[in-house]
Structures are given as C-alpha cells and as structure tokens.
C-alpha cells in the first residue's frame, strides 16, 4: 500500500500517463489535450493530492487506451504545490505558460483554488475542481471559467443535517480542530441542529496537532449528548478516533463525522466502527457505472478507490462530456458546453448548472461497518439524498430551512 511521493516520481508518473499505446499510433500528429494539475504532493495535504493524481492518471490511461479524446491523447502535467496558495498560483501559471495547458485540474486546498480562480480569465484557462469544498467558489468568488464537479462543503453538511432530522437523537455536542474550518463547520452544524428543533449542548476545540485527547473525551462523556459531531482530519482525526475507541466512547455517544474516507479507516482500523458521516464518494455506491469503475480500479491498483479518487474520476467524466459535446478544447466553446454538461457517472446523475457552475448531484450518508471479504471496516451507505435536496440555491452557501 505504500506509495512514494517525490517531485520526481510525480513528474515521471505524468509522463507514464502520456506514453501512448499502440492504438494511438494512428493519432500521431494530433495535438495532445494538455491538462495542468498543480497538486499538493508533499506537506499535510499530500494524501489527498496523491489520490487526485491517481484518479486523473487512471482516466488518462483509460481514455488513451481507447484512442484518446477526439482522437487526441490526454497529457497530464503534474506539479507539486506543497499545499501553499502562493506556490500553487506560481505552479498553475507555469503549466499554463510553459506547457501550454488551458485546462486545469488539481488545487487540493480551497485556499489554493481561491487564489487561482481570479487568474483564469487572464490565462484563458478552464479549471474543473474535483475536491474544493469552499462554498464561496460557486458563490461570492465565482468566475465563469471555474466549474465544480464535486460536492461542496455546504452540500456535505446538508446531508448530515437532513439525516439527523430524521433520527431520534436529541442532544448534540461537537469537537473540532481549532482553526477556521473547525469553527465554520461547527457553526453551520449548530445552525442546522437548531433548524431541526434539537438541542446543541456545547462544543470544544482542540489545537491542531493535539496528541492526547483523553481530556476532550472526558468532556464529551460529561456533556451527556446522544451524538457528537467531529470536525477533524489527518493525524488529529486518527488520534481522536483511536483514543475514543480506547475509552469506548461510541458505546455511549453516536459519533458523526464530516468526512469518512478509506485512508483514515485504514489508519485506525476497528476504531472507526460505528462512525457515521457524509461522504463525497464511496466505492460501495450501487450502480453499474460504479461497479465497472471499482472493478477496473482494483485491477489497476489492487485496492478500492478512495473518496478523492472517485471524485476525480467523476470530474474527468464531466470534462470529457464537455469536450465531446463541444468537439473542441477551445475555451469559449468548452465553457458553453460544460454549462450544460451532464453525466450518468459513478455517483449517479451529476449535472452542471449554468448559473453557478456547480454540479448538482446526490449525497450519501454512510456508517462504518465490518463486512465479509474486507480486511478493514468499510463505509456502508445508510441514506442517500437526491441532488435537488442538498444543493443550495444558485450562488448561495446556506439553506433557507
């Protein structure tokens, strides 16, 4: 499972994806479709960057094996941004100006995407996001050359909120990492709890990099809530879940998280059991497109596709649909085509709407369970919500009710 990430490996991999198979030989001379992909491949967001790279590479390989798109091979230009917005803008500019990419994927962090979008018009480039959650990208910071193929942060939270309205839990507590994301998410959650006419009994924030959560777990136990909403990621999330298991916290309190992904389940193993949360993509989604995708993915990588691998694949499908519809990669033609692009993809129907370029799509609530045939626990879908119920009104980040 260990995959190494170095800048050089990243560069090499981008060339591997380009290596044209025999079928493509007739297409020699056709200009490749160049896609720039500035990604955080080192630093704290590297896990996600790595997944997005896998997703895009797998798509490029699949398309190239079939003779390319419009008869042109896909060429990915991957650059490492380290997760820093300034570096990200520089690397994006590099792939645009040096490599001549007018299509962009990547930008792992929303802060990176927010730094890049104001430049898109000047670069005459279209950016199709596969993971940026910040509501502002299709709201106050919207630009015409930006498209969001993935579920946004407000949509994710909406899924949880709809789910808890239905449930029997009454009192909610929350723990979040002590920075903007943690505070924002818990504010939104608090608001949703109030709308659902239930009680929010309190919240606590742990500094980034906290290793001992025993005191926080004591506080959660004492709060006497039915459920605890968790806004954590990376090492902090893993440490919290491992220790919550030590204290058998889940016996008393339903743990609900904003993110369920395979990486953290693999990292904490059985400690993830019983965890409920919304997910952007999960390999257990039951439809033909997803089954075929998971099968092909297993063959290629020997494992199940994770959240951002699936999300990236869907973003690739949407871009592909746009290019096929426009029969061109010219920025103006492609923008017009993408505005009405719709795919029946691995998550079901996903359709871009013209007013804010958000892909309207369904949302899933999952619970982590043990399943026959899997070494580690897996997320099982416990509720699904159609796109029109979870997508906010055009250019909005919140919901009326």
């Amino acid at each position: 499972m260990a995959t190494s990430v170095t800048r050089r490996a990243a560069m090499r991999a981008s060339l591997v994806a380009v290596a044209a198979p025999a079928v493509l030989r007739h297409a020699r001379g056709e200009a490749p479709i160049k896609i720039g992909m500035p990604l955080a491949l080192t630093g704290p967001a590297a896990e996600i960057g790595e997944q997005m790279r896998h997703g895009a590479e797998f798509w490029a390989k699949t398309v190239n094996a079939k003779g390319g798109l419009l008869g042109r091979p896909i060429e990915l230009h991957v650059e490492d941004t380290t997760g820093d917005p300034a570096t990200c803008v520089r690397k994006a500019q590099l792939v645009v100006e040096r490599d001549g990419c007018h299509l962009l994927f990547g930008m792992v962090l929303s802060s990176e995407a927010l730094a890049v979008v104001p430049k898109l018009a000047e670069w005459n480039a279209i950016f199709v996001s596969s993971d940026n959650g910040d509501g502002r990208l299709t709201g106050s910071s919207f630009v015409p050359n930006f498209f969001r193929a993935n579920i946004s942060g407000p949509m994710e939270t909406r899924v949880i909120s709809l789910w808890l309205r239905r449930g029997e839990m009454k009192n909610f507590y929350a723990i979040g990492m002590d920075y903007a994301w943690g505070h924002n998410s818990i504010d939104v959650f608090k608001d949703e709890v109030a709308k659902a006419k239930k009680n929010f009994v309190g919240a606590v924030f742990s500094p980034i990099g906290t290793k001992d959560f025993s005191t926080y777990i004591t506080k959660i136990r004492q709060a006497g809530a039915d459920a605890c909403f968790i806004v954590m990621q990376g090492a902090d999330n893993n440490a919290f879940l491992s220790q919550a298991r030590e204290y058998r916290l889940a016996d008393k309190v339903q743990l609900v998280t904003s993110i369920v992904d395979l990486n953290s389940i693999h990292a904490v193993g059985d400690a993830a059991l019983g965890l409920a949360g919304s997910t952007r993509y999960v390999f257990t989604i039951d439809n033909l497109a997803n089954k075929a995708f998971v099968e092909a993915w297993r063959k290629e990588y020997g494992t199940e596709p994770d959240v951002f691998e699936g999300e990236q694949w869907q973003a690739c499908q949407i871009l592909q649909a746009g290019i096929e519809k426009a029969q061109s990669t010219d920025t103006d033609k492609l923008r017009a085509a993408l505005e009405t692009a719709a795919v029946d993809s691995i998550k079901g129907k996903a359709a871009i709407r013209a007013c804010d370029h958000q892909a309207v799509q369904g949302g899933y609530m999952v619970k982590v369970v043990k399943k026959e045939g899997f070494k580690t626990p897996i997320p099982e879908i416990i509720a699904a919500y159609p796109g029109d119920e979870i997508t906010p009104a055009c250019r909005q980040m919140t919901f009326e009710s």
């Binding site: 190494s4 025993s214 491992s242 030590e246 990486n263 904490v268 193993g269």
Partner: protein, 289 residues
C-alpha cells in the same frame, strides 16, 4: 461521573501522558548532558520508532516484539549516525550539530515517506491490553495504565542504571568533566556513542508506545520535538530527575488545564515553561545558567 471518579481518571490520564513525554525527554537530556548538543532529530527518532514498531507488528505479528525490536533498531541507527557523522563534528562549533541533526530530521522524514508511504498506519495495542477496567464506575483503558506503569518502571531502571552500573558511573562522570574521565583512561568517545544510542532507543520505545494512541504518521516528528524541548527546559538541561519532573508537570497541567480552560490548551505548556524560567533560569533541577 462524580468528582472523585473524575479526579482519579484524570490523574491516571496525566500519568500515562507523562510516561510518553518522559521517554522523549530523558533521552534528549541524557544526550545533552554528555555531549552538550541539542539533538534536533529526537522527534524523528521517536517517529522512526513508531514506524519500525508498525513493521515489527506486521512481520512478527506481536506488539511485544515491536517493543523490543524498535528501541534496538532505532538505538542502533542512532549509534551508527553518531559514529559516522556526529563524531566528525565534535571539534566544530555547536551550530554544526544543530544543522546536521536538523538535516537528519528532514532526511528521515523523506526516507520514511519513501519506505512507508504518506498514509498514517494503524498499530494496535496488544489484545491483552486493549480492554477496559472500571475505576469508580468509569471505564478506563488498560493500555493507559500500562503506559503509566511502563513509565515508572523505565524511570526506576534508568535511575538504577546511572547509579549502580559502571557505564552509569562513566556517564555521570563524563557529564561532569569529560576531560578528566578521558585523562583517567576511559575512551569518552565510546561513552558518547553509547549515550546517543540509549537516548535514541528511548525515543524509539516512546514511538512504539505512542503509536496505538496516535497511529504512526509523518506528523509525529515536528510536534514531538517541541514538546521534548519544553520538558527538558523545564526540568533543566542534562538533569535526569528534571526530565521526569518536567514530564509530570507538563502532563498534569495539560490534562487539568485543558479541562478547565480549553481555550488555553495550546498555551498552557509554554506558560509553565515561562514561569519556571522566570523563577529558575536553569530549569527546575538544572545548573543555574
């Protein structure tokens, strides 16, 4: 949860936390006492301990094997580094050590990324210790009790080692006056290698023991090295008892402080450090600067 149960479980939490901090702090302070160098790579050795622990569990299928193998391998690597690199630098300025050990942190971080990958890895506590016991009707993890006990056992063992064995005597003598020990016919260079290895090995044990609580991840090194410095500065650079005292103080302040003042969680440890330094600039048990 009544107050008595709260108090007892929080104290036990603090003790288990202190044990982990002690494994880090005591190694750093021993190394500083003998070599007068600050080992910036201490956090990286701690992290290496966790990853070696992960592989030992994967290969030997047993946490106890990891607990033995990890300190040996990490300590061995420490000795090799001392022999191969640090030994060439003793005549140089102190800043050379900072640069080299800091560089080692970066190299080890990248090497671990290449060998084990970017994803965090699960290290499970042994089945015998993954249960809970009820203390005044409150569930408490056995593993945390084990940590607290391990901290006490290792602390007593190191103390006895320093007081009762010949190598312990040499270590104490070298930390007081290396030239005299050398003049009396002992190869001080060997003592240095041994101490560097022991210090790194202790960080390795800490890494294995911490892994079931935090998973083995690349995020371990940077935070660990800062905590370790704070403990050693509070206890007094080079003082064995000081590192134990520093670990206890920081753990108790952290556990109770976070409970009553969660907004100050990040600052508490540093507030203690500042207060100690104002009252005793050399640390609680350190030589006055």
């Amino acid at each position: 949860m009544d107050f008595a149960a709260f108090l007892v479980t929080q104290c036990l939490n603090a003790l288990s936390q202190a044990a982990l901090l002690f494994f880090l702090g005591v190694g750093l302070t021993l190394i500083f006492g003998i070599m007068r160098i600050v080992n910036f790579a201490h956090g990286a050795f701690f992290m290496l301990g966790a990853y070696v622990g992960y592989s030992s569990v994967a290969i030997a299928g047993n946490f106890w094997a990891a607990l033995v193998l990890s300190p040996l391998l990490v300590g061995g690597f420490g000795i090799a580094f001392e022999l191969g690199v640090l030994r060439l630098l003793y005549r140089r300025d102190h800043s050379a050590f900072l640069m080299v050990t800091f560089g080692l942190t970066l190299i080890m971080g990248e090497a671990i990324r290449l060998i084990w990958g970017v994803n965090a890895l699960e290290v499970r506590a042994p089945p015998a210790l993954s249960g809970i016991v009820f203390i005044l009707d409150e569930p408490f993890p056995l593993y945390r009790l084990f940590l607290a006990a391990a901290g006490i056992v290792v602390a007593v063992a190191i103390w006895q080692f320093l007081e009762r064995t010949r190598l312990g005597l040499l270590i104490r003598a070298t930390s007081q006056n290396a030239e005299m020990v050398h003049a009396l016919g002992t190869d001080v260079r060997l003592v240095r290698s041994a101490v560097f290895g022991i210090g790194c090995g202790l960080a390795g044990i800490g890494g294995v023991l911490a892994a079931p609580l935090v998973t083995a991840s690349l995020a371990m090194a940077p935070t660990a090295v800062i905590d370790t410095f704070v403990i050693v500065i509070i206890g007094g650079m080079g003082s064995f008892l000081g590192s134990a005292l520093g670990a206890l103080l920081v753990a108790f302040v952290q556990v109770f402080g976070t409970y009553y003042f969660p907004d100050l969680a990040l600052a508490l440890m540093y507030l203690v450090m500042v207060m100690v330094l104002v009252i005793r600039p050399g640390g609680l048990l350190g030589k006055e600067a």
